[in-house]
């Protein structure tokens, strides 16, 4: 398989795939004499592994502790209302939730065809030398700091959106979605490419042997066989998109309007992440506004969790049907 560096978004599925080799290694170790060093290292790794889980749990508890008071302090009709004016105790989170959802969905709608097509090209079509160049380049894309992309978006993409698409301002949901699509592409491509890689060669051979063209084999056999991996790629890309903050804050205009009109895509929006980032720095600790921002964090967490759950259930269903992976 590809041996290139992976970034943190991609580590999750990869870690899963490596569970078996690790346990085999331990099996081999047990056969040998017991080494002190090995014992220490093994336990150190175990402690580190569990502490990672521990930290996640602690962060989650902290989020709950700071965020849950929101749901008691602010009446629910206000909390899920349409007006976000925190300075005047109007904490309607609906524009923020819908803003995040709109930007994320559009970003994925842009990134999905591009990402899957690129993965197919890199894995199935490109000659070896091109693959060797393309793969590291795609992975480098993931390393561009989001604030740099945000600046690029503000100075280059936003004026283009205004001039070409005729929007009143270039700081729109669409501008944010374009940047997010770009940012989630490396994740989608890498994971989808791994999924294609996992399709056994026999499938391709069988397809070609049945008289299918190369394109038919790719489109009708290989891609459907890798479907669950591709869906994981999309979910991970979505997770990246919905949680992204800096670039989004810089290019979406941060107007807390309800994105429900037909032209909303080309109007400013305010996302949950941008709201937390912009307001947390100045808010008085322990105030209602402070708790509401954590409450928004909980809502964001629940949304991300649901996306991951959806991804997991797709994979699980696929397994039960005896599919790949």
């Amino acid at each position: 398989m590809c041996g290139a560096r992976m970034n943190d978004q991609e580590q999750q599925p990869r870690r899963e795939a490596r569970v078996e080799p690790v346990s085999t290694a331990r099996g081999l170790g047990q056969g040998r004499d017991h080494h002190w060093g090995e014992f220490l290292v093994e336990n150190a790794i175990r402690v580190l592994g569990f502490s990672a889980i521990g930290f996640v749990v602690l962060i989650f508890l902290f989020l709950l502790q700071e965020g849950l008071p929101t749901f008691f302090r602010v009446e629910l009709p206000i909390l899920f209302g349409q007006r976000w004016y925190p300075t005047f105790d109007l904490y309607g989170t609906m524009p923020l939730i819908l803003g995040s959802v709109l930007v994320t969905i559009v970003a994925i709608a842009i990134a999905l065809p591009l990402g899957v097509a690129t993965a197919v090209f890199v894995r199935e079509v490109a000659p070896n030398w091109a693959r060797e160049i393309l793969k590291p380049m795609i992975e480098t894309l993931a390393g561009i700091p989001s604030v740099v992309l945000g600046f690029f978006g503000m100075t280059i993409v936003a004026p283009l959106v205004r001039d070409v698409l005729g929007a009143p301002t270039g700081l729109t949901a669409f501008t944010g979605a374009l940047l997010l699509a770009y940012m989630s592409l490396p994740t989608i491509i890498s994971v989808a490419e791994d999924a294609l890689d996992a399709v056994p060669k026999s499938y391709r051979d069988a397809g070609l042997a049945m008289g299918a063209t190369r394109w038919q084999t790719i489109w009708r056999v290989v891609v459907p066989a890798a479907r669950s991996g591709i869906i994981t790629a999309i979910m991970l890309g979505m997770g990246r998109a919905i949680g992204e903050t800096m670039a989004v804050m810089m290019v979406t205009g941060n107007a807390a309007r309800m994105p429900v009109t037909a032209d909303s895509l080309f109007r400013p929006v305010r996302t949950m992440t941008a709201t937390i980032a912009a307001e947390m720095g100045e808010v008085a600790r322990g105030s209602t506004h402070y708790h509401v921002l954590f409450g928004v964090g909980i809502i964001l967490f629940v949304l991300t969790f649901m996306i991951n759950l959806a991804a997991a259930s797709v994979i699980f269903q696929k397994r039960r049907r005896g599919g790949l992976r």
């Binding site: 503000m154 936003a158 700081l171």
Partner: protein
Amino acid sequence: MIAALSLSSCQRVHPPNATPPVPGTAPQTIENKGSDTLVNLALAWAEAYIQARPDVRISVTGGGSGTGIAAMINGTVDIANASRAMTEEELRASRVNGIEPIEFVVARDAIAVVVHPDNPVDGLTLQQISDIYTGKITNWRELGGEDRPIVLLSRESNSGTYIYFLEYVLRMGDTRSDLLFSPDTLLLPSSEGITAEVRQNPNAIGYEGLGYVTGNVKVLGVAVREQDPYVMPSVETVNDGLYPVSRPLYMYVRGEPVGEIADYLNWILTDGQEIVLELGFVPLEG
């Protein structure tokens, strides 16, 4: 926010109601608290002042004008920063405590309304600006400009400028008004963000502290009513009180200041004025 400032032995005159220095302990600190609008300016003053006077300590805290004034009345701070004058109620409360607050105007805060350089509109009335920002007027055509949608730019809602603009322009000083910024208002995290968007976008209108206005944008004249003259903001028009979107910024002390506090206030009103413009405010004239 607290500015940690330098220390040294303190052998100067002390304010009457401060405890006398015990030899060998830290020197007397000037406690300075109040308006969040003023906090950055107060910090800059404190930092500049201790460069010249390393034997003084000044601590600066935000929290809001009301908080600062209350602390000054209670005697926990020496100087209260306020972006508004003290109310009758606050004056009464301080007299009950036996304190006669002395008011100093230390700088002025003026907000410039800016548009793209190609925008043909030269001036607006307060009512028009209010209607624009509350979403009643949505096209430049209604203001004698081109047929273009208006894109509203504002600072984030935690900025002192946001609150001031809302209270004095949108609500035109009416405390019972519940007008709010239109939900279509773009909230940008910095003055630079507003300048950048106004510079490129002919639809945009924005506001920012007068000291932050740079070239490449067009500053609009503002009139109180339609028949009044449209006044361009400048250090002169702000100091003369002609430009309507401006307000004095205050420091209050307990009684006639003496010693360190008097020296500090004197410095603020003279040499301290040099850095006021850098922080987006308008220096006092003369």
